[in-house]
């Protein structure tokens, strides 16, 4: 179907994963039932959070996080410019304005707490910290900043489930007031479309649960079991439910998540060792970040945009699929939303990086193919 020798990423479905979904389908109960509850419990244990609420996507998780946090029209949410568009779109769903700030450096894609601090105004209500490519951002500094200014700290963990945070020796998603996770098909833990909200705050968790299913005071499952036949609707809620087949798949795959992340990290270390001294190519992040990351993607940096584009073309010609993430302020829709007018590090990071193939089940042989192609691409550039 596609001619890639090495695709950007790949999903290996184990036979027990398939069986888990089939068992669920055969049960005939497809929404908000025992499998979703079990998935939430196991997720909460894995992440180390008191409350996990499964939702339909990472986008939905961010939207519900901001709603539960009480963010609304006229308020501002600080978002790094180098992230997937959902991090900023979620602020707009609640009527707030996303204010873009810069990242650390071209080779450190995560939000710069100093630049975030400069973006704070009297209307600022929250900061969204994104753990790009699975590498944990400096949430400790941001936690301090948010506490000082009375701001909500939301962790966008869409790319970072299982990553560890600095001296807390805790997982991402547990330092902020709320963590938003994604189980999209390319993610370390994937179910197709899915997401999760994590929080230690019981009140926030209850809000998220309520708003996930149209703010109804009872669900289909409760009514099925003979509880109250009627219900009230107490807020403007949404349909952000995850269904049982997805929960079953997530539950089955979660058992192999840690192993998958370990494999990703081993591959990244092998990549780094073999690419370290190649002229014209720079590694992103440092060894400590590699240790703590859960490795959604493996980015490398080229000299500039032209070199990056030529590099990607050369790899494509070799059957190697790569990608890159545009910065938000370069999109038509977000062009005029930068207060300072310039975000040099985010611009550089976006223009210079290239993400190489990586997956939980990729092997050394595929890595050899990519490394050889990278050498060739650099030599011919």
């Amino acid at each position: 179907m596609t001619g890639w020798r090495v695709p950007l990423t790949d999903i290996a479905m184990a036979e027990q994963d398939v069986q888990a979904v089939l068992d669920c389908l055969q049960s005939g109960w497809l929404t908000m039932g025992p499998r979703t509850q079990a998935f939430e419990q196991v997720l909460a244990d894995y992440v180390g959070t008191p409350h996990a609420v499964a939702v339909s996507s990472g986008t939905a998780a961010l939207h519900l996080a901001l709603l539960a946090g009480g963010i609304g029209p006229g308020e501002e949410v600080i978002v790094p410019a180098f992230t997937f568009v959902a991090s900023a779109a979620a602020a707009r769903y609640v009527g707030a304005e996303p204010v873009l700030c810069d990242v650390h450096a071209a080779n450190d894609f995560n939000i710069d707490p100093d630049d975030a601090a400069r973006a704070i105004t009297p209307r600022t209500r929250a900061i969204v910290v994104v753990h790009m490519c699975g590498y944990p951002a400096d949430v400790e500094a941001l936690r301090g900043l948010c506490d000082e200014h009375g701001l909500l700290l939301i962790e966008d963990c869409a790319q970072a489930i299982g990553a560890h945070v600095g001296s807390y020796s805790r997982q991402v998603g547990t330092i902020g007031d709320i963590g938003a996770f994604s189980f999209f098909s390319k993610k370390q833990l994937c179910v197709g479309e899915g997401g999760m909200v994590a929080t230690a705050d019981e009140r926030l968790a209850a809000r998220v649960r309520l708003l996930r299913s149209h703010a109804m005071t009872s669900g289909t499952w409760d009514r099925h079991r003979g509880h109250d036949p009627s219900y009230d609707v107490v807020d403007i809620g949404f349909n952000y439910r995850l269904d049982e087949p997805r929960a079953a798949l997530g539950l089955s795959r979660l058992a192999r998540l840690a192993e998958g992340i370990d494999n990703r990290r081993a591959l990244v270390r092998a990549y780094r060792e073999r690419l370290a001294s190649l002229p014209g190519l720079e590694l992103a992040f440092d060894e400590l970040a590699v240790e703590r990351s859960s490795h959604f993607g493996f980015p490398v940096l080229l000299r500039d945009r032209d070199a990056r584009d030529r590099f990607r073309e050369a790899l494509k010609a070799q059957g190697i699929q790569t990608t890159w993430y545009p910065a938000l302020h370069t999109f038509s829709e977000y062009r005029n939303r930068t207060p300072s007018g310039s975000l040099p590090h985010a611009t550089q990071a976006a223009e210079r990086h290239c993400v190489l193939p990586l997956s939980s089940t990729m092997d050394e042989r595929a890595l050899d193919v990519v490394v050889e192609a990278v050498r060739g691409a650099l030599a011919s550039a």
């Binding site: 098909s185 079991r225 807020d235 949404f238 890159w324």
Partner: protein, 383 residues
Amino acid sequence: MPATDAFPEIPLFDLQLRPEDLRAVADTLRSGWLTLGPRTAEFERAFAEQLGARHAIAVSSCTAALHLAYLAAGVGPGDEVIVPSFTFVATAAAAVYCGARPVFAEIVSRERPSLDPQDVERRITPRTKAVCVVHYAGYAAAADTLRELCDARGIALIEDVAHAPSATLGGRKLGTWGLAGAFSFFSNKVLSVGEGGLVCTDSDEVAELARSRRSHAMTSGTWQRHRGCADTYDVTGLGFNYRTDEPHAALLLSRLGGLEADIACRRELTERYRGLLAQLEGIIVPFADADVAGSSCYVMPIMIEADARQAQVSARLRERGIQTSIFYPSIHRFSAYRERFGEQSLPITELASRTELTLPLYPHMTHADQDRVVAALAEALAR
């Protein structure tokens, strides 16, 4: 599970998947491609063809479909959308997502609990941007009259077809009467897969907007990039993640093949119910026998003639192992809507909400179980 939480012996709805449905999902999972790919495209093509619409866009839920349909109709802050109150809350909530005000209109009667075009006409103001008609329980509302009414005033007609796949009005499929139709594939629906929905339309512009906003208004998707057709993307609007995924699309495509047979079973059971229920005193059976042939027969609603007996009858049936439900509590009476949009009186809708009971119905329901339901209902009504 404690004994008090035991499942009902005769549930409100029940889903039985065929071996080929399971195989379709298993094949998709094993393929390793889980998002917006060939199976979604194939399902959309098949659904559009079966419906007779130019475009079908599969989304994550009917709520999402309604949101996209209203956006495509140009609904925005300060606008009004006329909707029935006798429907699931999503019909109105999706208007609120757009910043608009839902304006609730009456149903015709308890005998015909569908949106009343005359009441809709009375509620049209210069701010009315769209009317959403719900085909309650799978029975066609007056989409033809509403279409004329809307066309004459330049207002968009949106169809909430959550209950009514493959149902018709005057031989024409529901969902094809308005600017756009919003379908549901929620787990208790006629065509059910868990969570899912779909926007259908004949308008290229509506389809383009729905496709774009479904996936964050990105100019290319993962699948195109995987195939090497696109290198990067722009973001050209405020979009959402309203995507469905490939296992769900595969299940939908497989189940679509059994849809007409399922509906035929539902119609046969509905006709039988109607015959049995006609013998009972003290209830209204909405719609007419002649309406069944064009209906998808999603649920079997009855109205208890006397007020204030709904909870008692429902509880009595529950004691007999029979699950019932209320389709629907009035939206305008919900706390969230009273707080935001004020108190309103819709007497016919309110009476319908207070007296409606939905009886069990699913394609493989046995006649013996139907007899049990009717006998238990007769006994409960007589008390």
